[in-house]
Every structure is written in C-alpha cells, then in structure tokens.
Symmetry: C2
Subunit: 364 residues, 2 copies
Amino acid sequence: MKITTATEYFEEPLYLESGRILDSFKLKYETYGELNEDRSNAIIVFHALTGSHHAAGRYDGEKNQGWWNPLIGDDKVIDTKKYFVICVNVLGSCFGSTGPMSNSEKEPLRLKFPVITISDMVKAQMKLFTRLGIDKAHAIIGGSMGGMQALCVAIEYPEFTKRVISIASTYATQAWAIAFNRLAMEGIVNDPRFKNGHYEMSDFKEEGLFGFAVGRMAGHISFLSPHSMDSKFGRNYVATDGLYELFGRFEVERYMEYNGHSFAKRFDPLSYLYIIKAMNIFDATRNYDSLEHSLHHIKSKLTLIAFKEDKLFRPKEMEEIRDTLVNLGRGSEVDYVCVDSDYGHDAFLIEYDKFDFYIEKALR
Amino acid sequence: MKITTATEYFEEPLYLESGRILDSFKLKYETYGELNEDRSNAIIVFHALTGSHHAAGRYDGEKNQGWWNPLIGDDKVIDTKKYFVICVNVLGSCFGSTGPMSNSEKEPLRLKFPVITISDMVKAQMKLFTRLGIDKAHAIIGGSMGGMQALCVAIEYPEFTKRVISIASTYATQAWAIAFNRLAMEGIVNDPRFKNGHYEMSDFKEEGLFGFAVGRMAGHISFLSPHSMDSKFGRNYVATDGLYELFGRFEVERYMEYNGHSFAKRFDPLSYLYIIKAMNIFDATRNYDSLEHSLHHIKSKLTLIAFKEDKLFRPKEMEEIRDTLVNLGRGSEVDYVCVDSDYGHDAFLIEYDKFDFYIEKALR
C-alpha cells in the first residue's frame, strides 16, 4: 500500500460560518493507494475528535498503527488496491492543520482563533479535494465526529458522492454529550498551567496538563456505558493497592488515570477546546426549518451504523435520520443498522468485525 | 412538628472495618416528632453522599428546607405526629460529625483520617440509637448512599427493625459510579489549592475549589441520564451567550456550572473524598461467600424502590437483590418496584409523588 503524507497550503480566505475569516490555512493529510485515471476511486475518511490524518499503516519507528488500520489497506474492506483513500486532519486540530496553536503565522492565535464548525471543517477539505483534482468521491465515511462531517457533506455538497457512511454519530449533538464536553472544558480552563491559553506544550510535556487529563477521563466514561464498564472492569481492584487506602484504585480508575494522563501529554488543550465546541454546536438542522428540510438535500445513499450501548450518540439519534428519510419517501436510499456491542461508543474503533460487512456492502 | 438538633459525643473507641481505630467520635443528628413511651415509633432516615442530618423542616432564616421535607412532617408520609424520626450526619461528613476536617482534636486529621466504610457509618449510628434508648426501630429508610446504610443494617443488625426501605441504591457500587467518583477525586486532588489536604475552607470561600466544582459537575451528569437530559435541557442555548463564542454555553452547561461551583463553596473536599471512597468500596457481599449468604441474614421485610432512568444505581442492581431473596425462598419478604421517571438517579429527591405510596405501604 502506497502511503503519502503531505501538507497543502491555501493562500486564500476561508469564510467561516461564524462570519469570521481565516486569511489563509493549511491542511495536513494522508493518502493510501493510488488515484485512478478518471479520478473516480477516491474514498474520503473523516476522523473523530482526537484522531488525525494518520488513519492507516505504520510509520517507521512508530508503535501504533493508524487509527482505522484494520479497515484500510490492501485487500481490506476499504481496499487500497482498488481505492484511493484520503484522510485529512481537521481544521482546528493539532496534527498539522491550521488550529489555535499552529504557528505558520508569527504567533499562534490561541484563544483568538475563531470558532470552527463541522461545516467549516468540511468546506476547507472540499478545497483540498478540488486541488487534488477530485470532483466526486466514490464514497465518504466517518465515525463519531467523522460521521458528522460525512452527513454534512451529504447535505451541503449533495453531488460530491453517491455513498455516505456515518457511524456512531448524530445529526445534532445532544445534552449528554455536551455535558461531558463541558467537564473537559472546565478541567482545562481551570488548570492554572493553562494560563488562559498562554501555555506552551513543552510546559507540560512531562506530565500533561492535569485538568485536561481529568477532562479526558470524563471523555473515557462517555465512550463507554454502565453495561460496557461492567463487562470490561466489574469491581476488580488493583492488586497492589490497599482496599482501605484512600487512593487505592479499582481497575476502572487505573484505566481512566492511564488514558487521561497519557492523552494529555500528546494532544493540545486549545485544539481540544475548539474541536469539542465544533461538535457541541453541530446541528444539521441549523439554517433549515427542520430535519426534513435539511435531509431533503441529500442525493446519496446513506448508510447509518449505530451501536446498541452507545450513550454519546445513541441509536435513536441515527433512527431519527432514518425515519425522517423514510417519511420523505426516501426509504430505499437509507440503510440503518444497530450493532449489538458491549463497547459503547468506542465500538467503532474496536469491534470492526461486527460492522465491516455493512461498510463493504455500502461501497459496492 | 418538634425538631431537635443535637451532637452526641462518644468517648470510646470505634473499631473500624479497616482495622484502624477512632479513639473517640461525635455524631450530629436531628429528630422530628417525639419518641413514644415504649420507644417503638422510631424511624431512621439515612442521608446520601452530600446530605446532612437536616432532613426536614426549615431553620430560622434559612432559604431551603431539609432535603426530604416533602416526605417528613406532620400528616406527611413519614408522619411526625405518629413517628419519631431520626437522621444522623454520617461519620466522615462535614456537617458536625467526626470527619477528616473535624477539629474536636487540636488539629484535623485531614488525609491521615482513616477510610470509613458504610458498615462503620452504621456501627457509629447504632451506638447513638442505643444511647437514645432505641433498641428497635419501626423502620429504616434511605436513598442512594442512605439505601446502602439501610441494607447494611438489615444484614448486620437483623433484629433492629422489621421494615427496611432502600431507594435508588445498590448492594455493591458498580464501575460506572466508581468512574464518576474518580473524576471528583482527580479534580480535587489535582487542584493546587487543595494543597495535598492542607487547605482551610476559608481559603476558597469566595469561589470554591475549582477542581472540586469540576468533580461535582461530573456528579451531576451521573445523577441524570441521556434521556433525562434531553427532557430537561435539550439543545437549549443560553440566550445571552453567542453561538460562535468559544465559551458560549448550552443550558445544560450553565446548570452544571452553577451547581458545581455553588456546591464547592459549601461542602468540604476532604469529606467528599472520604465519602465517595466509602461508597466505592461498599459491597454487601464482602465478608460473605456470595450475595445469597449475605442477604440470608436479613430478617426484615425489604422494600426496594428503583428508578427506570437511574444510571448510577440501576434497577437491575436492585433486581439482583430481589431475585436473590426470591431464590432463597423469601419472595414474600421483598417488595420491588421500578418507578417510571425521567429524572434519573435524582428522582428520589424530586418525584416524591411517584414513590411515596410505596413508603407509606411499607410503613404500615
């Protein structure tokens, strides 16, 4: 599989949904496989909150593979012998695209960076696809925030593709998810080392920003469910900790601690704030009278994959999309499946064998 | 209704489950109504995590009434014309009973205070009841952590009462609840103003301990559910906040912010750490081979009230208690009801009219 990592610079204004303007911007992206002659074999993969353009393969010396490696590659479900796969680091993120801490300019904008929406992320990416000579994609696909981007393209660029796959996602972020994001925000902003945004990542390389770690731990709760936590951890206690020590830990606590702190070392807190904001205010019905009016624009076949125990973006939210399309007389243009999984929201990054078939089917 | 608030001092050792000893201790408590001649009309009410002995009535100049005021009073479901109601501030708390910051001694023990268990809380209270001349109670009743205490008495002091009511509670705290408590712990401990326990509450009277506020916000998520948040907040946005302001808020965020910060001003962070620890390690099967062996000791009639949307202590946890008793051939000694409520765990402090009938029935 041929992997190419690149950065594309846009010396042109990007008009944002908020009315603000980015004078110029850059997007980091990665591609897998090769674009065919008639440029018709592109599949766009959109990443989630903390993902990056590195969706598949393994860099030299790197321990972990791309975040969707089991699905993308030669002879895999998203077959790179057949398809040219593109994954772009979203605007606002910290892996090479323009964001609050990107210092292509002299000094990063930090808290003066404008709020970005899912529409803005998509708008920037569409400019990249145009530059790459891709006017139409074979399919677009994304999980969680990636699924929001996929739905957004389906509504706002209805001619771009005939196949849209949205996984573990929603048409509008609901209160439960917003509440969890608030914990992350509070954790970050109240940490004195955040310095109202005037930190340097090197300030907390050693141990990460504590408040951010707490916020990320909250995220890890929301990615699971009461039921999935029972299966995963139960009441198992860390063997070397004392039951009557105040800071003795259950296994679920060790899991949170480890994931929270390790994440806080590698992700930028300002980027996190901006991306959760984009997710919070994502609402496919904004600028439309109703979900009907919004989804009415879709021309592609929509595949919706939900997970039974997902509490962050619940099956019922996907079902509303399906039901709305059915009510519009478009029932034949939507496939909905609710996958039985114990992993909650995280399932889209874990239990591939339970949903890869539906992706394969949608790509046909 | 006659209300009496008092503190009882015990100049005797309390042997704790951990093997540690409190040389002496005090308990703050409140009573409503009057004890009858044969001392047979006492009802014990156990409070939850952040509750106090002030369960009913209103103090002079106080804005809020006791936390279960709609249920306790003259001619109310827990009728103080008929019953003598006692509510004791638990060991470890910060409302007058011995805890990590109580300075009956010269200097509070802070993080050197021993870990307290639900059994320890109950053991201390039983000494108080004995001192008050109450060998048997008409009934005992509690919600959430109060329900743990009620179940604990039923198992460990089977002769104390014939009627035990446990509401929105469990027989052993599960991973989901432990995970939320961890957020509170991390928030508190990582706040620099916590000073490894060497703070004074007056240090943060103005604005509370930020990390504690974040932890409490997490608690407020756990008291609700995705469904109850939809009903309560939906995607309503604070009218005076800008949609494209990074720190603009949805109503659910304002709710969390308000409740988190106001709570952090009035509750002691160390007490919170010790009480969530007690809840985390509560397990009615500890010291027994199984839940069967544990519940086998119960001699009273058990009334279990769960709430459909309670994610913290789920109906299925109460059902396990019921099923275990049924398997022991004690089906006639247990009443279980799952109340249909949109309020999640919080319902036991809100939707009285949906469950007061079951309390009334149990008290007969």
